[in-house]
Symmetry: C2
Subunit: 408 residues, 2 copies
């Protein structure tokens, strides 16, 4: 088998842990598999480098050319890990060879600090594997169209691993982390949360975007598109973790696979909008142009032909959103703009919803029984999300987890 | 003019000093010059990375593949400096672009951790300069024949700077350091030592190899071969430093340019060797094969047809030397092997010696007046070296400095 293994910052947190990772890689190699290892920077190192760069810039935030240099700077974190792991492997008698993003070549677009992978040439990687060596690739980094060093943005190492697995047609991409796998709910909140053995890409995508922080969304999309089976597992013991794969027959028998809460949204309310056609477009088009993505929307038509429009945006976009909407206020004829960050989006996710009716109403009933008010609702084929007051977030998660029979 | 500027580890020791370097580069740029900047790692960073790598290796010293990874690891030090300096330049409104060794391309041989530059493609560097930008290149690193990251060994950044100056036919290569230039003697020992305004490559080579640590020998050789004028100067003020150039007419009017002491040699004595032809070859051939370079040699023929042979080697080669000579003892018929590290080699250097006779005898007279015994003598066209007891090292330096009229 050809196995891609990705180790995060905690797993390579110090020299001892890197040696631990080396032993695991060596073990996989001794079982006869070809191995490509993708490593993150030593835990905390990326933040240290980012701070060093930020301190260097006295005048505002990094501009184009400075972002190019930020990538040169920050990519050294993963380069150090890759070199150290290769040395640790040699020390165990396992031949290994580090390959930087530009050596592999992992070609990206030119969007420094948040580049996207355009193509991967697997020739050199193949040659290293064929010579009997383990290939060690720093995550997060690539090479732009004109040969510049680029980075993929936060959590980019997951994406590197999946992209390399796709390019080499690996049998599996193992994502090693400090938890045992993907859980039915956040175990810190729901004590009865259970590790999920198998989950579909679609469900994982919903859970990832809803605040389950185990996998980066982009890497799940990429795995789904290229049908790369993911195995999310602990780097601290050898037990099985969670397999993220194409949908399988028996998956649908479970109605709900997991529940998640997202506390990163903020509710914005525009008061007393005249209830005219086109008013909503007038409001949301400028937001879209400013790259603010609006998640949930609720519109209540009032009796005096005005309406209160409520929507949610990511907390990091709040200032920009309020600025834009305030600018439109007079033009729109609105009376007031309110915002509230004491909200949580709680969601239940499961492939089975496609064939089982009544999941949404069951969600409402469970929350009503607990006295939790619902401010907004959004649904997809395999997900029901509700916006509630943030103080009920944990209560709602536990009730839904219990109500849908997810406990172990 | 096209100017290559090299800043060492002390000059880029922290963020403030990097900003200071940026201001100096910006000033050079504003005078209308094209600038290529070569930077070392932040002071202490290379040692930190070397230690990290050494700690990773549990079993012996780094082997071939581990040396390859050591280069991947250690080269990040200069990469960080190059990125930070480029950002600092942008902050001052000066367009800059960092280019790693593999981007320039600085092609080296495959001798990891001590690679030698084979060729430099100046095309990309030229393109960056032609677009009006400052090129910032990390010193010490290159790319091997098969695309691997290589490093040039200790002090390699000087060599990078001179090689880039040669490849781009720069008008001058400025070496910025924490001293004011090259001195007639070590100012810590000889209070009256004077900064030398101009010195020839040949003299600089002798002084560099005799313990004046301002420039790395390899970089002076390269500058001499390519006739790249060097300007060694302080990064902390704007005064002129020392120009190292091709020989100029007026240089010969000065008999002695500088004096230097080298405490890194050890004296080895082989007692009572039979005074037969071929005996010396029998002793020195095995040393040469073991890559031990013998510097000074003294042979005293005694009356009973045996001789005491004394020679000096670098202190780091002492253990190996004694081991080899002990192994030969019986075969040679020698009675005893002695070694003594309480020696210093004191030298006077000057182009003028080629036309002025009597420098050697003046050296002997000056030292005799101070009661300093001479254990060995070696001379070249432009240098006289004597081996003395190390306790007289400072005294001898001061006496020679005074005797040859070098004081300011």
């Amino acid at each position: 088998m050809l196995i891609v293994q990705k180790y995060g910052g905690t797993s390579v947190g110090n020299l001892e842990r890197i040696q631990n990772v080396a032993r695991r890689v060596a073990e996989t190699r001794r079982q006869g598999h070809d191995v490509v290892v993708v490593v993150s920077a030593i835990g905390g190192e990326t933040d240290r480098l980012l701070k060093l760069g930020a301190d260097m810039i006295q005048h505002g935030s990094p501009r184009g050319s400075q972002q190019r240099e930020m990538d040169v700077l920050v990519s050294t974190g993963e380069q150090v890990s890759a070199a150290l792991l290769s040395m640790a492997l040699h020390d165990l008698g396992v031949e290994a060879c580090s390959l930087m993003g530009h050596q592999v070549r992992i070609v990206t677009d030119a969007a420094h600090t948040k580049a996207r992978i355009a193509s991967i040439d697997a020739t050199k990687l193949r040659a290293v594997l064929d010579s009997g060596k383990v290939a060690v690739v720093p995550g997060f980094q690539g090479v732009g169209p004109s040969g510049d060093i680029t980075t993929l943005g936060r959590g980019g190492s997951d994406t590197t691993a999946v992209a390399l697995a796709a390019a080499t047609q690996a049998d599996v991409c193992e994502i090693y982390t400090d938890v045992d796998g993907v859980f039915t709910a956040d175990p810190n909140v729901v004590k009865t949360a259970r590790k999920i053995d198998r989950i579909s890409f679609e469900e994982m995508l919903e859970l990832a975007s809803l605040g389950a922080k185990v996998l980066q969304i982009r890497s799940v999309e990429l795995a789904m598109k290229n049908r790369v089976p993911l195995h999310v597992r602990s780097s601290f013991h050898s037990g099985e973790g969670t397999w993220v794969t194409d949908e399988e027959k028996n998956m649908e028998s479970v109605v709900v696979t997991g529940v998640a809460a997202d506390r990163n949204e903020v509710k914005v309310t525009v008061r007393s909008l005249p209830d005219n056609p086109g008013m909503v477009a007038k409001l949301f088009e400028p937001l879209a142009e400013a790259n603010v993505s609006v998640d949930m929307i609720i519109q209540n038509v009032a009796e005096d032909r005005t309406t209160d429009l409520t929507f949610t945006v990511n907390a990091t976009d709040l200032d920009r959103t309020v600025e834009i909407v305030e600018g439109l206020k007079a033009d729109l004829g609105a009376t007031e703009i309110l915002s509230d960050d004491r909200v949580a989006k709680v969601s239940v996710v499961g492939l089975g919803m496609r064939t089982h009716a009544g999941v949404a109403s069951k969600v409402f009933r469970i929350l009503a029984n607990e006295g939790v008010n619902i401010a907004a609702i959004s649904t997809s084929e395999i997900k029901v999300s509700v916006l509630i007051h943030s103080k009920y977030s944990e209560l709602a998660l536990r009730a839904l987890h219990e109500g849908f029979g997810l406990a172990g």
